[in-house]
Amino acid sequence: MSSKVKKTVPDQAHPLVALYKEMLYYRRFEERVLVAYTNQKFSGFCHVHIGQEALCVGVQKCLRPTDYMISGYRSHTQAIAKGIPGHQVFAELFGKVTGCSRGKGGSMHMFSKEHRFLGGHGIVGGQAPLATGAAFRIKYMKEDDIVVCYMGDAAMNQGQVYEVMNMAATWDLPVLFIVENNQYGMGTDIRRTTSVDHLYKRALAFDMDHSMVDAMDVETVIQHVDKIVKKMRKDKKPYLLEAKCYRYKGHSVSDPQNYRTKEEVAEWLKKDPVLVLGEKLKAEKLATEDLLESWDDEIKTRVRADEQFADESPNPDLSEAWMHVYLD
């Protein structure tokens, strides 16, 4: 990913531009989601990824469509990155039948068989065994896909995560466990609920490959993860990646955030992955302020269209309540 090329006319085909636009799209998407939630257009829990966009954009660049992905309840943007159209995600938030889970899953349960996005799960850590099962399938079928399993930092205190890290390491199952370490599990600083300074140390219990990456910078993420994925395709072994990041918003919409200082937030806001890359684009003459603004307008229009689709979509027929309990 070279960003050294300098031109006087901004090169909109430059890869960094695409990365920027994608991150900006997720930023605007999640912002719009928050507005819709605040306006009571939907309900339930709502967890957004604002501040953590660099990770899912970067990781996705290292994957191919047949790779599997799974995540927790904070996964709107990951679902989109994996291929689910944004309007289907928005429609799912509104509980519409056009949503990627037909309105039965909601914010926490985005699914797509087509795009191999195995969900959106609500039980902290519960996705890790599922990911390991998908990796088992890959080995069983002698394929060379991999499984990306996103988890929060607090999920690293879940016993079932540990159990399957052991199995993946013992049986060489290609799961890339990615800890999105945004440093808090709800209102709890992760340092208060574990004894280690770095969560990648969990891998030491299993002699599992591991490392940490600065997940506030999309280029760093791509460089780092690309190597890991290439290695995993060859050696088929699992990997634990600690991705250090920060969530700018509350845990969910109702969170008063008394557990962290304004100074801390301000410090991390300086690393805003979208803004920083925007500045870089300008510095490297890949964009101008005007261009950035026009992209923003484009993207906002796109997000509005996503929402409009959701707005205009029908609710599932009531009969759907009794469907999909069993498959014949």
């Binding site: 309900s43 339930g44 829990f45 899953g105 909601g106 609500g122 999920a155 209102g187 599932p316 759907e320």
Partner: protein
């Protein structure tokens, strides 16, 4: 008497019991610094300090079991499950350890522990966050299971649960924490295992507990006004042990029963109560017992669908009309 919310009533119960007995402590996710995910433990950290009000990692099996071990060695833990959906991860410790310890040790190790948290569906949280665990827990001898419906009951029962020498599973609801009601000050305990007639009536008994009680109250207003049927509302409050006598008494008076519960109805507490009534009051019944429970499907996210599958006023009204053979 003060007017308190359900969450304040529970918080007060914990506060008073922790003040009364230094061996009582509270552990769970977000219970301390955050004052509880639903603010039930508000103020407890400030009052009792971090030794007695402890934020746990997200390790339900681990801290449920830690509670059992602490209880074996003389403490009286209150373990908060952020919701009982996650409490299922602690089932091995609750079912295989807490419930059986006194018995398999030949009476040596009682487990005076309360495990509490919201049970059942809240609102649009979809399938994984809407599980009712009362059918599971009540099947296990050695446990007690409590499910209050009002702030006063919440306080009185929680205080009794904390003083009980057995593992007590205490089922609350996110939807009830904000509800208000009169709550007696100070030393106010409701013995476990004692139900209450919440409203006397003569034609039909509705047996219900927990937050669905409030839907029943609304439905009953409608029924009495619209159809002139007099309904008795019976809340067992404790599901295990169950106040069967109170139930049988009421049945012998009204001869018709509807059971309304939030859980799925297969092999549920409702099924159990129905079985007991039929068995013990067979000749007293003018109609078979009717039941309302959540439709036998996982709880969907979409609001209309969710409303459709959960017990709602409409279903309660219909069941009452069925049991009096009105339709």
């Amino acid at each position: 008497m003060a007017i308190l919310t359900f969450r304040e009533a529970l918080g007060q119960a914990m506060y008073e019991e922790m003040e009364r007995d230094p061996s009582v402590f509270l552990m769970g996710e977000e219970v301390a610094q955050y004052n509880g995910a639903y603010k039930v433990s508000k103020g407890l950290l400030d009052k009792f300090g971090p030794e007695r009000v402890i934020d746990s990692p997200i390790s339900e099996a681990g801290f449920a079991g830690l509670g059992v071990g602490a209880a074996m060695t003389g403490l009286r833990p209150i373990i908060e499950m952020m919701t009982w959906n996650f409490g299922i991860q602690g089932f091995d410790q609750i079912i295989n350890h807490a419930a059986k310890m006194l018995y398999m040790s030949g009476g040596q190790f009682p487990i005076p522990m309360v495990i509490r948290g919201p049970n059942g569906a809240a609102h649009m949280l979809s399938s994984q966050h809407s599980q009712s665990v009362d059918p599971f827990l009540t099947n296990v001898p050695g446990l007690k299971v409590v499910c209050p419906a009002t702030p006063a009951d919440g306080k009185g029962l929680l205080k009794a649960a904390i003083r009980d020498n057995n593992p007590v599973c205490f089922l609350e609801s996110e939807m009830m924490y904000g509800m208000k009601g009169e709550v007696p000050d100070g030393e106010f305990l409701i013995p476990l295992g004692v139900g209450e007639i919440k409203k006397a009536g003569s034609d039909v008994t509705i047996i219900t507990w927990g937050k669905i009680y409030h839907k029943v109250v609304k439905a009953v207003e409608h029924i009495e006004k619209e159809f002139g049927i007099s309904v008795e509302i019976l809340d067992p409050r404790t599901l295990l042990p169950l106040d069967e006598n109170l139930i049988f008494q009421s049945v012998r008076k009204t001869h018709r029963v509807v059971i309304v519960e939030e859980a799925w109805g297969f092999a549920s507490v409702g099924a159990q109560i129905s079985d007991r009534i039929h068995n013990m009051c067979f000749d007293e019944l003018d109609a078979p017992v009717e039941r309302v429970s959540t439709d036998f499907v996982p709880v969907p996210y979409n609001e209309a669908l969710e409303h459709e599958v959960l017990p709602n006023e409409d279903k309660i009204v219909k069941a009452v009309r069925r049991v009096i053979y009105a339709d």
